[in-house]
Symmetry: D2
């Protein structure tokens, strides 16, 4: 399998190569790629700036399509852990996605449960259940299944289209080289004293496909509570995946002379977060006191 | 070494046995135990209700002592990683505490650094540096050392007394059986929808002395966002130590049909916290949305 | 106009009186009330427990109706500030709702803007724009209008049904006496010291229809950080409306001897919140340090 | 009374004028100003950069003074609402401070209560009770009084010195023109969707000495959730005082199509905060979802 395609190269292909490259983002629906090419008219002088721009353009075309065309798109997807999977007649993309979620190695019981769900869903709504499963566990999938069976047909129609857009996004990420605009920053604030947390040690790790953590950086906050290096990750190092900060909050407050318990409430604070958009700025800060903290996806 | 003493038994000992049992809480200062016995007059009909009550009584006696007596108390402590340690002439309590912090296995350089710090501290303040080290790392100790050298003598005098109270607390915890009043509760709130998080899976683990995590409970939140079992830990299971919650936030929001990224920002949320007071109620909740969360020591 | 009807009385009416009483909750669609009566079969021995139960039953009937019936329901609503309003041919309910939002006193320009929006919306989606306006300002309505014009038809179809359910809820609240199950509680936590905030003064006010605040209670937190009275509001006093807590955070931290600035960052902390469901438990806590705080709708 | 003195002018005065200008920052203790002048040796080529720098230098001199000198400094302060006040023999500074706190208009009972407190405090600790009262209410003062009477002598000695530093800071602020480095910024984050809150309306008001709010700015957040103007206040407009943000959170979420209650939990969110250091950067953000929010003193 070749490496990912650059946005520059994609922008200079002809329509058929364009569709061959990214048309698969929407299951068995090359028309989405075709119309997108006509709309964007990509070229060396009019390059596609980012995967996000391309995805937004493709998604808009789907959103503007009429109900029947959307219904066809939905039904062009295979059941999760369904007959097509057993018969090994999935598209490459679906095959990889379902296997990453472990749907190709279900027990008899699990398989039966999925079949039952798929049938119940189809008989209620008249179309197939769609869920972006690349990063989902069996538990997550079954929980979503149960919950969504309670929705109305319209809610599910919308939900399926939303899931399809999400699947397309993840497929484009495997095909294309993201624009070099994403990076990760951090900030630690001491909410007990209302000032930036100075000289706090932080470690950043990345979770491998096998679920192993690997250290990719060690940092110390400066007097503004930020990383002396400014950005923790940039460029190619800033890629889709699951990351973990570990903040040495205990050492920091001990140094500050805070009134800590013999066994402090907080010592090392772990923070696990996912990066879905490698072209975006992720600001993942920590607001902490000796007895509590909060964090969020900032920008 | 015998098991911990019950508060009932302690309450029915005579004064000398009382001092023998708990007098060591304050380094080489049996007078604290002696006066405490006279004040509390413990007996079968007037038992000591909790370690907290005993500790408060002992601490008050120290706080009310005059400056010279406090200075003697401070100076009755050995240097951290100092000559006494090398000469193996520490009290049993100090010996155990310093070894738990790894101070009995310092490198040449570390030892030199500690000696330098101890001397600088004593020459500036005229008394020894005191820090409750049972649960501290070398890093924490050295950071505190550096930070506290910047204080005024009075601030350090107060700080040392505070540390001595903390040491006494931890010593009493190793000697006595805590009152059976402590327990751990949890609550998960979905701040995106403003309702309790129903049906979220939570695992509770405990960190062993060797730093290994061991599962001690698996829970699912009820419709009020609380544990169906109410309390996660009670009685003897609720002991001093370091614990870890893992909240399956990703599964919960997937089930709720929240708009999640292909690689969700939050999936499994880990929360590591210490329990210092086994007689107290610890409420350790999670307030979460798909893009952020906060936690704190509640009650 | 008579006082609100009790759930007991509603439960013992015959079908036609039932529909006369609550059928108007869904605009010009008595069928919703009729089917609801058949489903619930209310009686003295089978009373309707709460407005929430009734509303859920009515909403379910709408959700299960087919698309055409839902479309009729949507289109049975008048334009906001539309011809029907000018011609004064609104239902009593719509008339009151639109006037509360100030839509009966628009300037020429505003009227033109609404007309333009209504037409744009109808020409794009083929049905009328619906928004629960009883508590909305012109700004809110116009902002929603602009935002929703960007949605897909399906999204708007769902959005309109959701708004209709909200309108029905608010109409039922004006018709019926809520079950006596709702109450308001508070909790103040000191996140700097990790303990409940003891002895903090709190005032509760209620916003009148004219936007005037009136004190309805003064409280002091107990050692658990809760109101000594437990509940701040219960029964009939706990009604739909806008409320305001004022927490004397500055006095509390001054008393605690916290290191505060000469002009403290926090002094009196105001917290304005709305109560929409008089049958529910609202827990509105404050987590505060001298330099920050957070609050949320708890339960 | 002349306008505030510029740091440039202060830096070029001789020692006696320097002491005349700022020596009063520490009650009846010109020696602090004298030693400070010797240390800083201010001049046109070596100007004092900020009030903070000057205050830190003066505070350090006090901290390094011996216990007796500190005790003299403490005891050079008058009782709060004490005989000196009645006899009108206070320094100008103390007189203004005590009157701002309303201590010059106490009832018989209040006066008696203060006298009782002052006597209890002096008989326990041997020196006078000191509290920076310029921005404190009678309630705050009495609560601090009661709380601090429980401390040890050393704790109170430290507390008094800390209060004296705070008093000096506030006195310097009335004498000198602050450096032009302070400003106010804001950021609004939508924690429900994990993105900056775009197009939210915010109003900034300032509380006058008479407790009246006056609008000083209206803002709208940009796509990064920040003020298009970047800074809300800078230069002379950014002065010591009490300010209020009002965030139109309800309009924002209505526009976002969030599932809001008929009577939304959050509509206009008020946030009252004090600015103590006009030379500093105050970042006062809002993290909000439809059902909760948090804020803090950032930087």
């Amino acid at each position: 399998m070749p490496g990912p395609l650059s946005l520059a190269d994609l922008s200079t292909t002809n329509d058929s190569d364009f569709v061959a490259a990214v048309g698969g983002a929407y299951e068995k629906s090359p028309w989405v790629g075709e119309v997108t090419f006509k709309k964007l008219k990509p070229s060396a002088s009019n390059p596609i700036a980012s995967i996000a721009v391309l995805h937004a353009a493709m998604a808009k075309i789907v959103d503007l399509a009429d109900v029947d065309k959307k219904l066809d798109l939905i039904n062009s997807h295979p059941d999760l852990a369904g007959k097509a999977a057993l018969a090994d007649s999935l598209t490459e993309e679906s095959k990889e996605e379902q296997s990453k979620a472990g749907l190709n190695s279900l027990t008899e019981d699990e398989l039966a449960r999925f079949t039952k769900m798929n049938d119940a869903y189809k008989s209620k709504f008249g179309f197939v259940f769609i869920l972006a499963v690349r990063n989902a566990t069996k538990t997550t999938i079954l929980k979503s299944f149960e919950a969504r069976l309670k929705n109305t047909r319209m809610q599910e129609f919308e939900q399926c289209i939303a899931q399809i857009h999400k699947i397309a996004w993840m497929r484009l990420l495997t095909i294309l080289e993201p624009a070099d605009t994403g990076f990760l920053t951090c900030h630690v604030l001491d909410t007990a004293s209302g000032k930036p947390a100075d000289d706090m040690e932080i470690v950043l790790e990345r979770l491998s496909g096998e679920g192993q953590l690997g250290v990719i950086g060690s940092f110390v906050t400066n007097s503004d509570g930020r990383l002396t290096s400014g950005r923790a990750l940039t460029g190619k190092d800033f890629s889709v995946g699951v990351y973990k900060w570990t903040f040495e909050v205990g050492d920091y407050f001990a140094k500050e002379g805070a009134k800590l318990a013999g066994t402090p409430f907080l010592t090392s604070v772990p923070l696990i977060f996912g990066i879905d958009n490698p072209e975006d700025h992720y600001h993942v800060p920590l607001l902490c006191s000796p007895y509590g903290y909060s964090t969020y996806r900032g920008s």
